[in-house]
């Protein structure tokens, strides 16, 4: 079958299946299970209406169960097994992790990432949103700030590898140092502790655009009256920004913040491509990668730890997003 026919057939079966399901299920409910007949037709109608939402929810719940709940439970179960999944070792993988200094380094570094990257991206994004709204070439500036979003994490890492390169004729940073008269090149990726921040800069560079776009939309949604009132009351621009505008978009800021936090807890590409976890830059997802495909149980255990850390942030994120929507 040609791909075109296949596509059309898929659409027909998919859409037809959905329509068929809802039509058939409703028919079944209204005609067979709770028909509006008999001694008390009214009661049957209200019973049918109580069941109806669940009919509509059922496919989504089944899909969620299959694609979300089952993998989580399955992962946890796997994390209790040894490296090739053959022997049950209970919490052995978790106790080993706790005893591993590399794991503790990864947790510490991850904490740094979670503290710095979302805060920096959101703050710079907010400032950029406010500033670019005020200038004539703001849209161009916005496009430029947003552009890194279109680059894959690995691609971005490769670009920054050149920025950080250890030679003045390749690395931008060392070229600037050389121009300022410093003689020997500096390998920033190897500076203990601070190299973490150089890696974070890459993610901040990518995520600032995202924060800017969302926050800029929120800033535009602020009613002009409140700002005019503040101006009449003699507030200076900084006061207007921090005491009038920011409080009105706190909800959006929190959603952006938590969204980036969730991303930070998942991103491994940057550390994996830049340092491979060497020089004390390991974070949890790249630590997981070093066990992946070699030790199933251990890698799943790390994945589960990451999930446990993400979960509260995720719940908070959803709560905030729902508040925003109201």
């Amino acid at each position: 079958m040609s791909p075109l026919l296949q596509g059309i057939a898929t659409i027909l079966i998919g859409v037809g299946g959905c329509v068929g399901y809802f039509y058939g299920a409703n028919l079944l409910l209204d005609r067979v299970i709770f028909p509006p007949r008999g001694r008390d037709p009214g009661a049957n109608i209200s019973r049918a209406n109580a069941v109806r939402p669940w009919l509509f929810l059922a496919p989504a719940m089944a899909a969620l169960g299959l694609y979300l709940v089952y993998p989580v439970v399955g992962s946890f179960w796997r994390s209790l097994y040894n490296r090739d999944g053959g022997t049950f070792i209970g919490p052995g993988n978790y106790t080993d992790l706790a005893a591993d200094p590399a794991f503790r380094t990864a947790v510490f570094n991850n904490l740094l990432w979670v503290l710095v990257v979302p805060a920096a991206s959101t703050f710079i994004g907010l400032v950029a949103a406010q500033l670019t709204d005020r200038i004539r070439w703001g849209n161009i500036a916005k496009s430029i700030i947003f552009m890194p979003m279109a680059i894959s994490f690995v691609g971005a890492s490769l670009i920054w590898k050149f920025v950080y390169a250890n030679e003045a004729d390749i690395g931008l940073l060392n070229a600037i140092r050389a121009a300022l008269g410093f003689d020997d090149p500096l390998d920033v990726i190897q500076i203990p502790f601070w190299n973490n921040f150089f890696l974070m800069a890459i993610l901040i560079w990518i995520q600032t655009g995202f924060a800017m776009v969302i926050l800029s939309a929120a800033l535009r949604g602020i009613p002009d009256e409140t700002i005019e009132a503040a101006i009449l009351d003699g507030a200076n621009p900084l006061q207007i920004f921090f005491r009038i505008m920011v409080p009105q978009i706190t909800g959006t800021i929190l959603v952006v913040w938590t969204t980036i936090t969730i991303l930070v807890l998942k991103v491994f590409d940057i550390v994996y491509t830049m340092t491979g976890g060497n020089f004390g830059t390991q974070i949890l997802p790249s630590y997981m990668m070093s066990y992946m495909f070699k030790d199933d149980g251990r890698a799943t255990a790390v994945a589960f730890v990451i999930m446990l850390i993400v979960l509260p942030v995720m719940v908070w994120n959803i709560v905030q997003a729902r508040k925003e929507m109201r």
Partner: protein
Amino acid sequence: MQLIAMAGRVAAALALATGSAHAQGLEFTPGEDDRFSWQSYETFADSHDLSGQTLDISGVWTGPDKDLVESVLAYFEAATGAQVRYSGSESFEQDIVIAAQAGSAPDIAVFPQPGLAADMARRGFLTPLGEDTADWVRRNYAAGESWVDLGSYENETGAEALYGFFYKIDVKSLVWYVPDAFAEAGYEVPGTLEDLKALTERIAADGGTPWCIGLGSGAATGWPATDWVEDLMLRRERPETYDAWVSHEIPFNDPAVVGAIEDYGWFARNDAFVEGGAQAAATTDFRESPAGLFTFPPGCYMHRQASFIDTYFPEGSEIGLDVDFFYFPAYAGRDLGRPVLGAGTLWAITRDSEAAHVFIDFLKTPIAHEIWMAQSGFLTPFTGASPEAYATDSMRAQGEILTSATTFRFDGSDLMPGEIGADAFWKGMIAYTTGRSDAETVAQEIERRWNAIR
């Protein structure tokens, strides 16, 4: 479809008959060059027909190596009429495990390390090559028994069989240098490791930089340092100790191992001995690190790296003239013979099919080796392949190092469990080279991790 397959067969037959193989994209015209064993190729072509069948092969070879392997595969296609699809991946080690677990493995996989192949065999993902192939390797490979040993693994029931066919071997115990630079400075190729250390000190005293070292390799950063340690291990300890280390019969932090790591540190942790200093070695890509040999004045005088590194030399540099190599020498004071460290790739069947087994048979023809030998970066222990086919004298010399070693040992980190040989050892060597940790601590950390494997 049948018509196309038939047309392909006719074309292949025509090409063979007329000898005009260029239309097929064959690198060397069959029958024309007497360095090659065309007889074996034609016998193979006559007795095998896979028209209309396809063979999927995955491997580690990318870039120039992909073109080279495809130049060999073209002969298999021309001989059998099968269609071969080769795909190379930088992350082959991960991809092949996922593919096998998902049930979408290729017919044949080219493994860069026996360790991973052994792991796959133990999980039941590989098909045995059969006893006659094992016999063939025993008879036709120099030191055949050791190659059979390296390719034989246990399956999920614990039964041992030959799964890996070694092909394209790298000799690792080589030191590359530029003869002109040596001549100009009045240095001589050292015959012993003591001499090599003295030369290193002399170059540094003369104001030059003796070594280029590059440990960077993306997520695999650190592996070149493990080769140093393994080479030095073979030069300080008996081969049995090496085997015991690789199979974890002695702990990783055994004094023998710590001594080898520190011996590596003698070369690599001295800022005066390494171009850019020890710190730079950890982030310099191994593919770029030989560049220092070719600058003027020399950025460095020596570079210890396996035979494949010539792929990354500047275009047009001729080995033996612009750049040459010498055997990484052994300690005169330790009487351990002439140990050679090597590595190699092996083919294994990941999906049982007729075409896959025919392909393994193809690898037993001298031509399957000679085509690549005649180009670059390929050494073989196959005694049936004509040494005449080597493109250069230097490759022939490397081939000789391979066959005349008193001790041959496979790259140890490749034989260790993946968590150790392809992660903990690498990262440990980076921590040691950059001075974040001393040898004792690094070895202890790797030992702790090895013990944590369940």
